[in-house]
């Protein structure tokens, strides 16, 4: 500090302490807000208190707590559930390695998952499905996460290795889950038995991973100068966007099955995945197209001027900026897709919501408990949707520095 600054320093008027200041700034900063606060604070207070009292005294959570496996994997044969477990552990391990290699957002996600596993592993309740083996498995995942972290930290492990791992794991998981007919070790498990969170995650993750590149391709196609490509992309996008998802699901699960010969029939889970993917791709395409339009022409000229060809310009200059510009909209589309997967109930696939419904319908006693079941399912969806939007905000913040012009 220079002497000039020191002599000119004027003391800031004293500020009220943090909490009082926050209350004054946010709840009582105008007469209207003060009025709203006075009216709604008691309402909110009593609502919250009543919900808590209901949840711990009146509510009967049996329909939720009795069937953790059903909610997790549906009717997947209990003897074969270890295959789901290995798939999950592979993902946990890779998550840990990614955390070790890149840190940042992945660290928060990893820690959240690690804590969740640890909490369930040592949950002090008696439950026949939370036996010692299950607790060991959950605890093992925490160790696997940390092991992945340490391996990810090693100098020899490059980001490329982990990306390759992420590329292999989906195929490995699908192979593990389906198995092969006649195999001793991995007998095939029909997808009609798959259900619960497993199906919700498969449809969501598959839908997101497949729809995004298709959406980018469609967005580029719609801006193409080749008339056939442009027409195809435009018709595809507008057709899909003009039709409700339920209709598309029906089309893929019933009409497609009617038209294709029996021997080339596509699995119904795959058909549902195709429907969700194409639906989401059409919307992603419009989001990406908005981003493409936001990239200034000068960027393309600068890329051309240094000798880059059309493909290089697109991959290195245009797409990164376009996707950054519309990242919130794209993540919003992913969250919508995640929630929209509940519609597969209509075509007879038991995702998380479907399992909840079949549990309610399985026992007259449980019909009384549907509020608890739906609330539980809503909370599960909320947690994952919120995690996605949190991730999106962190990602935007991380990319923010470079997008300033």
């Amino acid at each position: 500090m220079t002497s000039q600054q020191a002599t000119q320093e004027v003391l800031r008027p004293p500020q009220p302490p943090g909490l009082i200041k926050w209350i004054r700034d946010n709840l009582f900063n105008s007469w209207f807000n003060s009025l709203l606060t006075v009216i709604f604070l008691p309402i909110v207070f009593f609502a919250v208190v009543n919900i808590i009292i209901w949840a711990f005294t009146v509510a009967d959570w049996r329909a939720v707590t009795q069937f953790p496996m059903l909610y997790a994997v549906g009717q997947y044969p209990r003897d074969e559930v270890w295959r789901v477990g290995i798939g999950l552990s592979a993902i946990v391990f890779l998550l840990g390695a990614s955390w070790g290699n890149w840190g940042g957002l992945l660290q928060s996600i990893s820690i959240a998952f690690g804590i969740a596993f640890a909490v369930f592993a040592i949950l002090p309740v008696q439950h026949d499905q939370l036996d010692l083996n299950m607790r060991l498995y959950l605890g093992g995942n925490v160790i696997l996460l940390l092991l992945g972290y340490l391996i990810g930290r090693m100098k020899a492990v490059k980001g490329g290795h982990i990306v390759i791992g992420w590329g292999i794991v989906p195929f490995l998981a699908v192979f593990l889950l389906t198995g092969r007919r006649g195999s001793e070790l991995l007998p095939d498990v029909a997808t009609t038995l798959w259900g619960g969170l497993l199906v919700t995650f498969l449809l969501s993750a598959g839908g997101i991973l497949l729809s995004f590149p298709i959406g980018v391709a469609l967005a580029l196609g719609r801006r193409s100068t080749l008339p056939v490509v442009k027409a195809f992309s435009t018709i595809f996008i507008e057709t899909i966007r003009g039709v409700p998802l339920i209709t598309i699901l029906f089309m893929f699960s019933i009409i497609l099955a009617l038209f294709l010969p029996a021997e080339s029939r596509i699995d119904r889970l795959v058909r549902a995945l195709m429907a969700v993917t194409f639906f989401s791709a059409a919307y992603s395409a419009e989001n990406v197209r908005g981003g493409l339009q936001a990239v200034p022409l000068g960027q393309i000229e600068a890329a051309k001027a240094v000798g880059m060809n059309g493909l290089q310009t697109m991959v290195f200059i245009v797409l990164p900026q376009a996707i950054r510009a519309v990242l919130p909209a794209i993540v919003g589309q992913f969250i919508a897709l995640f929630k929209d997967t509940t519609l597969v109930v209509i075509v007879g696939i038991n995702d998380l919501l479907g399992i909840g419904r079949s549990i309610i319908n399985s026992d007259p006693e449980f019909v009384q408990l549907q509020l608890e079941v739906y609330l539980f399912i809503a909370i599960v969806y909320w947690i994952f949707s919120y995690l996605m939007s949190l991730a999106s905000r962190r990602l935007e913040a991380a990319l923010g520095v470079s997008t300033k012009l």
């Binding site: 000068g298 000229e301 001027a305 880059m308 060809n309 950054r324 520095v401 012009l405």
Partner: protein, 251 residues
Amino acid sequence: MTSETTNEPIIICQDVHKWFDDFHALCGISMVVQPQEVIVIFGPSGSGKSTFIRTLNRLEEHQRGQIIVDGIELSHDVRNIERVRMETGMVFQQFNLFPHLSVLQNITLAPIWVRKWSRDKAEEVAMQLLERVGIPEQALKFPGQLSGGQQQRVAIARALAMQPKIMLFDEPTSALDPEMIKEVLDVMVELAQSGMTMLVVTHEMGFARAVADRMYFFDEGLIVESGTPDDIFHNPQEDRTKLFLSQILQH
């Protein structure tokens, strides 16, 4: 043509025409540029000077006439266009740095992917160029964190990284605050003195006086007058040139 053939022109433009729909932007431009020459092009806005310089690396397509750059004729042949663009660097009025890449990545992207250099070599050359334009300490920052003058110097380094034979400048100082114009012009003067072939669209007459070999005055898509800076400043022949110079020099 015996011993003089070593001094072959690096740019030959013959009767170049350009239309934007019905608007005749270039009405027959002919120009021959020798290696290491510094050409300054000036004129009122809408005179076609920017359009002309942009036809030289085919950011604009000409519709009649002939443009030969470094022995390659510009036509619809995409491979020829890419070869010409590898040999010509361009600096834009609005810098057009890639905002999502660091300064170093801005400079090394094309050498790595177009020239197929190794990353190490590209980064070494990039750091030398950043030294040359005076901002090596900014290498890891993003364009949005730099001042306008610094950004334009990065843009010059980015163009030079491809080791072009010709540098095109399209009003490089017009978007800059006055106190930043000098730092960019200093870099350009140094570049001119190092023997780079340069075509510069600018109204910086001090720069023209200092380093230009020839000046061209454009108006309404035509070259109205050309000559050495001495001729243009002290003995302009055309009334339009005199009028324009009096307007931009009176301050």
